[in-house]
Amino acid sequence: MSDLHIASVTKLFGETSVLKGVTLDVKDGEFISLVGPSGCGKSTLLRIIAGLETPTTGTIAIGGADVTQLRAADRNLSMVFQSYALYPHLTVAENIAVPLQMRQMTALQRLPLLGGLLPSARAQAGDIAQAVSHAAQILEIAPLLDRKPGQLSGGQRQRVALGRALVRDPAAFLLDEPLSNLDAKLRVQTRTEIAELHRRLQATFIYVTHDQVEAMTMSDRIAVMMGGEILQCAPPDVIYEDPDDIRVAEFIGSPKINILPVERNGTVLTVFDQVLSAHFSADSPKLMQMGLRPEALRLTQTAPLLTGRVVHLENLGAEIFAQVALDSNGSRVTLRAIPAQRHSLGLGVQVGLSFDLNSVMLFDADGARLRKAEVAATRAAEVA
């Protein structure tokens, strides 16, 4: 177990720049998720960490030692692949044993027939069999050890791939979208199991996914990647509540965050000509974007800041998501309501919406967060 240090890694595929200077520090025993839309470079970053790709520039260090020039086999990392990549001709037990055989036995000991005759090889094989059965116990796949991967279900194969990764004691586990081939129910279950496995092993996990739910539920920290860069790397609650960038805010959170244009005229802050704050005194751009989570919006009859008509309702039982087309420009915002408010929501019903200024996130036109402006706006509202 050791920490991992990624320093300004770039990767060019021909002319295309896939990674644009990624820097990331992973602490020993941390579960970190690389999350982002497809094509953002998260898998490439993982493969560079693994050693399956070489970075164009930058360095990778594991436990303080620079491994940039080391090949994957010498880096002491384990990887679980999206397709599981199990050897189809070997049984489950043999699959799990491969990493140990490759690392602990000599080429002579591994020879198919002759190897079995060597006493040293027999002793080794005994140790390996023990390690395999231990790994199988952890993952509860002991009854499957004699089967071939072709006879297993997707979830079982996934466990075998995990078993092959954890049978030895690697510096870190790398997981490349390991749940994406499972059905929804199994995914939820396996998610919990991987998180528990992490707690139990106290090992470093680097987990690549495009699914924000997986990232939010399992990680100690999430690194949101887009366009070959890490936009923000922080614990899940910070990523959700305090994003640095409008792209992070938009990517994390379901339903998506509402973005509305905000204008500043002197000291007056307005959204669709509704005054938000009359005594706003911050040095901020004239045009800004405002991010409002669906749960920050509330229904109100008195002095609504926004008005609109309900155009779509999603009742999830415990909560209701209503899409409201705003009267001012027809853009839609999503509102989260509690079931008790169901009677006041109906298709086509006119509603008034309001929100607290301290739940507002402000971004400039390029999407960078304006925290100073938010503080100023909140303070101005309190004064008023």
Partner: protein
Amino acid sequence: MVAVDASGATRVTKPKADNRQARTGWMLATPALVLMVLILLVPIILAGVLSFTNYSLGNSGFGWVGLQNYERLFARSTYEKMFVATFTYVVTVVPISVGLGLGAALLVHSLGRIGDIYKTIYFLPVMATLLAMAIAWEFMLHPTIGMVNRTLEMACGTWLEVIPFFAGGCADGFPIWLGDRDYAIWVVCFIGIWQGFGFNMVLFLAGLTSVHRELYHAAEMDGARSGWERFRLVTWPALGPTTVFVVTISCIRAFQVFDTIEAFWPQGGGPNKSAYVMMFAIFEKGIQQNLIGIGSAITMLFLLFVMFLTLIQRWLVERKVHY
């Protein structure tokens, strides 16, 4: 009562529907069955029947000779030579052409664009007419004016004479290849390999494209450092079905070798019948000498070998190499 009637009625109508469906099925299969019987089974049965006779083409009748033809096959030295030549050829050509095909496929596969050039070059002998190629080889292997011996003679007087083969060749003349009973079958083997391995290479190349790339990455992560380890862990098992197919096809092709021998020695299957392979024997006995009975007996034996090989392949494919 009604319910009983109804169930009784269905019990009657259902077999009827089944019958009709079965009849339609047979009707649809009939053309294929007829063709199979006419062009495959009937000739085989005819050959089987003829192998117990002394029939000759043009004769109005024939006599039953029982197992006499088969007894001859296992008693006469000519046929012993036939078996020796055939099995020498098969046992030499199959492993080497499969091995070379696999090696060439791995090398070509590891190259990028340039691989296509090699692919074309290695495949050229497969596309060429073997008969024409045999004539070209005959010229090259001519004892005095042939390219091969001329090239070998260039080694005379150099340090290469240390090697006994060159020492002997420079002193007493190099082998006369096609005219030497010790060399003839090996020359035929060499040409068989040269001609056949490109085909195997193409089959292996097709097999290689189906190997999952992530498996190589998994092998690397698992600590397979050398190319040989990756080959043993990933490539070779993945090529299992291809290999069984290639070996079977190569065996059958090797049993069928004929054109080279016909081109080199139209009169008799090599010096001292050292290259008298089965196909040539069938041709010589059955066609040239019009001994249909003995020709049919060799054919039946040939069929038996090929059938045996095919059965082994079926068994291997079903049991061993499909995961």
